[in-house]
C-alpha cells in the first residue's frame, strides 16, 4: 500500500492514516522530488516537466521494490500521478484511492476546474513572495553554518519542507496539467474520496473523475477542506477500508 502526498507538503501528510494499515499491508511512504527528504539531485527539469515524470518516479519505486498488487493512495495532484503510474506499469497496481483528485484545475469551455489561468499565474507569483524569506534562512543550514545551530534544529522540526524552486516548478506542472484523457485508460478499481467544500477540487470535479474512470466509485466525505488525511483521518481510513473490503 503506497501513499503519495500532494503539492505543498510531504509524507507527513499521512502520519494519521498509514498506521491503520500497517498490520495488513506493507506500507510504502515517499517524498516527491523537491519535498521533504527527497534527494534534490533527483530533480530533472525535463523529466519533471509534466506529471508523467513524477509518475515515472512512482513506477520506479514500485519496480525497485518489486511491488505487486499495489493499492495506491494518492492525495491531491498525486491522484493523477497514480493514474499515470498505473497506466505505465499496468501489471503492478491493484487499485487506486484518489483523495481530492482533479484532472484539470483550469476551467475549459463547459468543463469546470474551479480556477482561471490568471488565478494560477497569481499563485505562482504569490509563491515567490512566500519564499523570499525561505532561501535566506535555509541556505546557511544547507551549507552547514555552525554558528547558528538553532537553524538546524528548526530544520529537523519543520514539516512539509519544500525547495522553493522545485515547489514553484511542481506548482506550475500541477496546476496547468490536463489529464482528463488519461482517466479512461485505468482498468483497475478506483475510489474517489471527495471532501465537502473542497476549495481546490470541488465536488463537480470529483464526480467527473469517478464517471470517467471505467471502474470508478465516488464516495462523499463529511470532512471539509482539501486534506481529509489530516483533518478527518478516521473517516478517511474507514472509507478506504470499506473500499478495500469490496475489491
Amino acid at each position: 500500500m503506497m501513499f503519495a502526498h500532494g503539492f505543498g507538503c510531504d509524507q507527513d501528510m499521512w502520519r494519521y492514516v498509514w498506521p491503520a494499515f500497517q498490520d495488513r499491508h506493507r506500507v510504502v511512504l515517499f517524498d516527491h522530488v523537491g519535498a521533504g527528504g527527497a534527494d534534490p539531485r533527483a530533480f530533472d527539469r525535463q523529466r519533471h516537466a509534466s506529471l508523467r515524470g513524477y509518475a515515472e518516479d512512482v513506477a520506479s519505486i514500485v519496480r525497485e521494490l518489486d511491488l505487486r498488487d499495489v493499492i495506491f493512495v494518492g492525495h491531491s495532484v498525486s491522484a493523477m500521478i497514480g493514474v499515470l503510474a498505473a497506466a505505465a506499469e499496468p501489471g503492478r497496481f491493484g487499485s487506486l484511492v484518489l483523495i481530492g483528485p482533479s484532472p484539470r484545475y483550469i476551467d475549459d469551455g463547459s468543463y469546470v476546474g474551479g480556477f482561471s489561468a490568471q488565478d494560477i499565474d497569481e499563485l505562482l507569483d504569490s509563491m515567490d513572495s512566500n519564499y523570499v524569506g525561505w532561501s535566506g534562512t535555509l541556505a546557511p543550514m544547507i551549507m552547514g553554518n555552525a554558528d547558528r545551530p538553532e537553524l538546524g534544529e528548526e530544520l529537523t522540526r519543520s514539516f512539509c519542507r519544500t525547495d522553493p524552486e522545485m515547489a514553484r516548478h511542481f506548482a506550475r506542472v500541477t496546476f496547468t496539467s490536463d489529464n482528463r484523457a488519461d482517466l479512461a485508460a485505468v482498468r483497475i478499481p478506483s475510489l474517489v474520496l471527495q471532501c465537502s467544500e473542497d476549495p481546490i477540487a470541488p465536488e463537480i470535479v470529483g464526480s467527473f473523475v469517478a464517471e470517467r474512470l471505467p471502474r470508478g466509485r465516488f464516495v462523499q466525505l463529511q470532512a471539509t477542506g482539501h486534506c481529509p488525511n489530516l483533518s478527518a483521518p478516521e473517516e478517511t481510513i474507514s472509507a478506504i477500508t470499506a473500499f478495500l473490503g469490496e475489491t
Binding site: 482561471s116 507569483d125 476549495p199
Partner: protein, 369 residues
C-alpha cells in the same frame, strides 16, 4: 498610570485579529480587521476565512497553511492577500496558532493579520533585481564564450556547454581553442572557476583572456599555468580554479599539456582503448606558492584520434564515485567513437553527469586525414 482593558487591547490592536473554528469558520474578529477590510463582524462571523482570500491564496492556504497548522500547531509569516469588501486587496502577512483544549485537542485557530503593502512591494523589487542579475550573468557568460573556435582541414573542434539546472543557471566553466604564433599549433583550454554568479563569470572572462595572452608568449604548458597562477594570485581572481591547457600541433599530432587540479584529458586513438592522460598534473590555482614549477607531459593524437577535455560536472553523478564516472565516460566515448565529433559530444553530454547542480562542459578535438 493609564489602564488598558483586555477588550480594548483586542479590539484596537495594531493588527487584524481573528479567531476561527478548526474547519476555518470565523468565530470572532477585532475592530481593526473590520476597519481594514470594510466588512462588519456580522458579515464575517460564520464565513470561512478562506473566502476572504484570492483564488490563488486559497490554494496556498489550503495546501500549505492548513497542513502545517495541523502538523506543527502554527504557521508564521505567510504572505496572502485579503480581499476587502470594496474588492480591493490588502497585502498581508499572516500568523496563526492553534489553541488546544485541556485534552490537547485543537479547539480554535487564532490569526493575526499585519498589513504588508510596502514589504510586498520591496520583495517584488528584490525578486526583480535577482532575475535581472541572473540575466546579466547569463548574457555576460554567453558573450565571453562567443566567437569561433580555431579549426582547420586537419583538425575538427567542437564544444558543448550545459549550465546547471538550478540556481543562477550560469557557470564559471570555460573552453577555448585558438591558434598559436606558428599558425600550425592550437592551444586548447578548459577551465572551471568556482561559483555560479556574475563574479564567477567575470573571473572566468579574466582567466580566459589571460590564458590566451600568455599562450602567445610561447610559454610551454607547465610554465603557462605557473604564469596564470601568478596572475590569479596577484589580482585575487578565481580562487581554486582548475584548468587544463594543451598545445596540439595539427600536422604531426604531437601534444604538450598540463593540468592544474583538473580532471585528466581522455584520448581515444584509433584501434586503441580510450586512455586517460594522468601525467602533467599539479594543484589548482592559488593552491601552491610562487615560483613553483608545474609539470607537463607529452603525447600524440593519431590521425582519426580524438581528445576530450571537460569539467568535473561531466563525470560527477549523485551516488556514484568519480572513478565510476571516469569509467563511464571512457566506455561511452570508446563505444561511439565512430560518430562524427559533434554528435559524439552531444551524446556524451546528454548521457553523462548529473544535470542538476553543476555545469557540464565538454571540448573535443579530432585529427582528420
Amino acid at each position: 498610570m493609564a489602564q488598558e482593558s483586555a477588550e480594548d487591547l483586542f479590539e484596537h490592536a495594531p493588527c487584524g485579529y481573528l479567531s476561527c473554528s478548526i474547519d476555518g469558520t470565523i468565530i470572532r474578529v477585532n475592530r481593526t480587521f473590520e476597519t481594514w477590510t470594510g466588512y462588519d463582524r456580522g458579515e464575517l462571523v460564520g464565513r470561512a476565512f478562506r473566502e476572504l482570500l484570492t483564488p490563488a491564496g486559497r490554494i496556498y492556504h489550503e495546501t500549505h497553511c492548513r497542513p502545517l497548522l495541523t502538523l506543527r500547531g502554527s504557521v508564521r509569516e505567510v504572505a496572502l492577500d485579503i480581499v476587502c469588501a470594496s474588492g480591493a486587496r490588502l497585502p498581508a502577512l499572516i500568523n496563526s496558532t492553534q489553541r488546544l483544549d485541556e485534552a490537547g485537542r485543537p479547539q480554535t485557530v487564532r490569526t493575526t493579520i499585519t498589513e504588508a503593502t510596502d514589504r510586498r512591494f520591496y520583495e517584488r523589487e528584490l525578486l526583480r533585481a535577482g532575475r535581472l542579475e541572473r540575466d546579466i550573468a547569463v548574457q555576460l557568460q554567453r558573450s565571453l564564450l562567443a566567437g569561433e573556435l580555431a579549426s582547420s582541414k586537419s583538425l575538427c573542434v567542437d564544444a558543448r556547454y550545459h549550465a546547471a539546472q538550478l540556481g543562477m543557471e550560469v557557470g564559471g566553466d570555460w573552453y577555448d581553442v585558438f591558434w598559436l604564433q606558428d599558425e600550425e599549433t592550437v592551444g586548447l583550454v578548459v577551465g572551471d572557476v568556482v561559483g555560479h554568479d556574475i563574479a564567477a563569470a567575470a573571473a572566468m572572462g579574466q582567466l580566459r583572456s589571460a590564458t590566451r595572452a600568455l599562450a602567445l608568449t610561447g610559454l610551454p604548458p607547465g610554465r603557462l599555468l605557473d604564469a596564470l597562477d601568478a596572475y590569479a594570485v596577484r589580482h585575487d581572481v578565481g580562487r581554486m580554479t582548475t584548468a587544463i591547457y594543451a598545445e596540439l600541433h595539427t600536422c604531426t599530432g604531437d601534444m604538450r599539456y598540463a593540468a592544474a587540479g583538473h580532471p585528466p584529458p581522455l584520448l581515444i586513438n584509433p584501434d586503441k582503448d580510450p586512455e586517460y592522460l594522468w601525467d602533467g598534473r599539479s594543484a589548482p590555482l592559488h593552491a601552491i606558492g610562487n615560483g613553483s614549477c608545474r609539470s607537463q607531459a607529452t603525447t600524440r593524437i593519431e590521425t582519426g584520434g580524438t581528445l576530450l577535455l571537460y569539467t568535473d560536472g561531466l563525470i560527477e553523478r549523485r551516488r556514484q564515485s568519480l572513478d565510476l564516472g571516469l569509467e563511464h565516460l571512457a566506455s561511452e566515448a570508446g563505444e561511439h567513437h565512430a560518430l562524427e565529433l559533434g554528435p559524439l559530444l552531444t551524446r556524451l553530454v546528454d548521457r553523462m553527469g548529473d544535470n542538476f547542480s553543476d555545469d557540464r562542459c565538454l571540448l573535443g578535438a579530432r585529427r582528420l586525414d
